[in-house]
């Protein structure tokens, strides 16, 4: 079905890449997963940004229409306080996307610095990597719950609590790239020519980390959205004043047997979003990083 569509679009997007300066995203868009996942994500993002302007206030209480099924009151029914589930799900999309993006960017930034240092400055390697090993052995969800319960649940603490357990994976990845690159002949040549360390980093090491990091960022984004929802569902996430997919579902638990849609709609939205992110991630991995693709596929 998509066979006929994808090459056309890709063909229209770019001529055959001949040199490195062809924009990476053009190559990536040739992949069907990246294209379709990207389209779905763009739609979700669009709906998240402009959607809430067109629907009733998600915090609007209406005792007259409590627990109504979908269709009878609003597209997705109402919850136990008479709030419109559809507008709540739309607002929740904002939270999910913001958390996913913020966590991915921050975790990559911190992990990149730590990984570069561990890979390049020999004496720090053992220390940083042991700390990362330790951090990796702490169950992410428990660590996040503990951090949030101690410092109070806000958007910031939730993002921080999800970022910290993600850092070790990025650090390990960057470090392994650095260790491979520094053995390459062109880096040895640069060192022999007296190039300064920070220039070697910027010119030779950093460009090699970009492709795997973009791939890793999409996976982190997807898992951050899931973790945020899990925290919200367990009552340890973003406070209920701001509707998030997690806390909508958390509030829907009490009446689940009566009104399952309060859990199903945000759950579906979450699953579709994360699926789109993961499909984009798989596509990017296949196009940007053939080496990883071989072992991970």
């Amino acid at each position: 079905m998509a066979e006929g569509v994808a090459p056309d679009v890709a063909g229209a997007a770019a001529p055959l890449p001949s040199a490195r300066d062809v924009a990476v995203w053009r190559i990536a868009l040739r992949n069907r997963g990246v294209l379709w996942g990207g389209v779905v994500l763009a739609l979700i993002a669009l709906v998240a940004v402009i959607g809430p302007w067109f629907v009733v206030d998600p915090t609007n209480l209406n005792p007259m229409t409590r627990l109504r099924p979908p269709g009878e009151a609003g597209l997705m029914g109402t919850d136990q306080l008479g709030r419109d589930v559809f507008s709540r799900v739309l607002s929740g999309a904002r939270v999910s996307l913001v958390v996913g993006l913020a966590v991915a960017v921050i975790a990559i930034a911190i992990g990149l610095v730590l990984g570069l240092v561990a890979g390049y400055v020999r004496w720090t390697d053992a220390i940083i990597m042991r700390v990362m090993d330790g951090l990796m052995s702490i169950p992410a969800i428990l660590l996040a719950i503990a951090m949030i319960s101690l410092s109070g649940a806000t958007l910031g603490t939730v993002v921080a609590a999800i970022v910290i357990p993600e850092i070790p994976r990025v650090t390990r990845l960057v470090r392994s790239v650095v260790l491979t690159v520094r053995e390459e002949a062109y880096v040895e040549a640069a060192i022999a020519a007296g190039t300064r360390v920070h220039m070697i980093m910027v010119r030779h090491v950093l460009p090699n980390t970009i492709a795997p990091l973009i791939v890793q960022a999409t996976y982190i984004c997807g898992s951050a959205m899931l973790t945020e929802a899990i925290l919200g569902f367990l009552g340890a996430g973003i406070p209920p004043e701001i509707p998030s997919w997690g806390n909508i579902m958390s509030e829907g638990r009490t009446f689940f047997q009566l009104t399952p849609w309060i859990i199903f709609f945000p759950g579906l939205a979450l699953a579709v979003t994360v699926l789109a992110v993961n499909i984009v991630g798989d596509g990017l991995r296949d196009t940007l990083d053939p080496r990883i693709a071989r072992t991970m596929r």
Binding site: R130, G134, I141, A146, G235, M249, F264, L270
Partner: protein, 314 residues
């Protein structure tokens, strides 16, 4: 060999130390007075002072850490603020459902995922292969608790095949009630695990199938089933077992959520109740407990490599 085992065991000590340091720092470095945070919004000054005393928060940090690690090494994970019981005792009371759920999940996942991944690798590119890959991407995308509610909705509320929630101990109520109550939680928790293991199995079997000895085996006329069983799966065992070990971390997080969805009185529920009550020693103790379980299981897995693959010699 013995030297390697000792080395590998010794390597876990700094990791455990880092974990302990993190868990310790978590409470002390959090903004505000930890004693006041734990005491909650309605606490009196005496309550805060009592909790501060109980946690030894007025001592210098180094002394606090020292005494805490010393008691950890004697197997003392601390004492619950509200019930006054040792955390180890609380863990012992609640560990059975959690351990059995983890066990059924691992058994079920391996039993499903390894054949599925092998089949996908054997028929790489086929419809079955695509289905397995689609399932594994989907498995990573569906939130555990949403899946749990979908299963409850279909199998418990509509079809009425299985009980909605709860837990029955096999030692008290027998195997039948235990199985009927553990089936849905196991299915729920298994999906992500199956996705993970099937993906890894497929990747490593594909790799092994390209080896010369597989071609030799085929050339001498061995049946495809034997090629798969005797050569491919056996040689792919190490990465598969490794990914199971890494997956334990996923499993621990999933157990907390699954126990919450199905109302299972295990360690996950103990954590959540402790969070609601701000009973920090319990949270701290359980994080340490789960981390050490993870570290020890992965140590065990590392040590079994020699049995799985005689080529690995230390």
């Amino acid at each position: 060999m013995l030297v390697y085992i000792l080395k590998r065991v010794a390597m876990t000590i700094p990791v455990m130390g880092v974990v302990a340091l993190f868990v310790f720092a978590l409470l002390r470095l959090s903004p505000g007075d930890p004693a006041a945070v734990i005491a909650g919004d309605f606490a009196t000054a005496e309550d805060v002072a009592r909790i501060r005393e109980q946690l030894g928060l007025s001592e210098p940090l180094v002394v606090q850490f020292g005494t805490w690690v010393w008691s950890l090494m004697q197997g003392d994970l601390g004492t619950s603020i509200f019930s006054g019981k040792p955390v180890t005792e609380l863990i012992a009371q609640r560990i059975e459902p959690t351990m059995l759920l983890a066990l059924t999940t691992i058994l079920f996942s391996v039993a499903v995922a390894v054949p599925l991944g092998t089949l996908a690798a054997f028929k790489a590119g086929s419809l079955i292969d695509r289905f397995v890959m689609l399932f594994s991407v989907g498995g990573f995308s569906v939130p555990v608790f949403v899946l749990g509610y979908v299963l409850i909705y279909v199998f418990s509320l509509n079809l009425r095949w299985l009980p909605v929630q709860g837990y029955r101990s096999p030692f008290e109520h027998g195997l039948g009630p235990f199985l009927s109550h553990i089936t849905l939680p196991t299915l729920t928790l298994s999906v992500i695990f199956i996705a993970l293991i099937a993906r890894m199995t497929r990747a490593s079997v594909i790799e092994v199938l390209e080896e010369d000895y597989v071609r030799t085996a085929r050339a001498k006329g061995q049946s495809e089933l034997k090629v798969l069983m005797r050569h491919a799966v056996r040689n792919a065992a190490v990465p598969i077992v490794t990914v199971i070990g890494i997956g334990i971390a996923l499993l621990i997080g999933g157990v907390v959520v699954t126990e919450s969805v199905y109302n299972i009185p295990g360690l996950g529920r103990l954590v959540l109740d402790a969070v609601l009550a701000r009973d920090y020693p319990i949270i701290q103790g359980l994080i340490l407990f789960f981390s050490f379980v993870y570290i020890l299981l992965n140590l065990l897995i590392d040590l079994t490599y020699t049995f799985l693959d005689p080529r690995i010699r230390y």
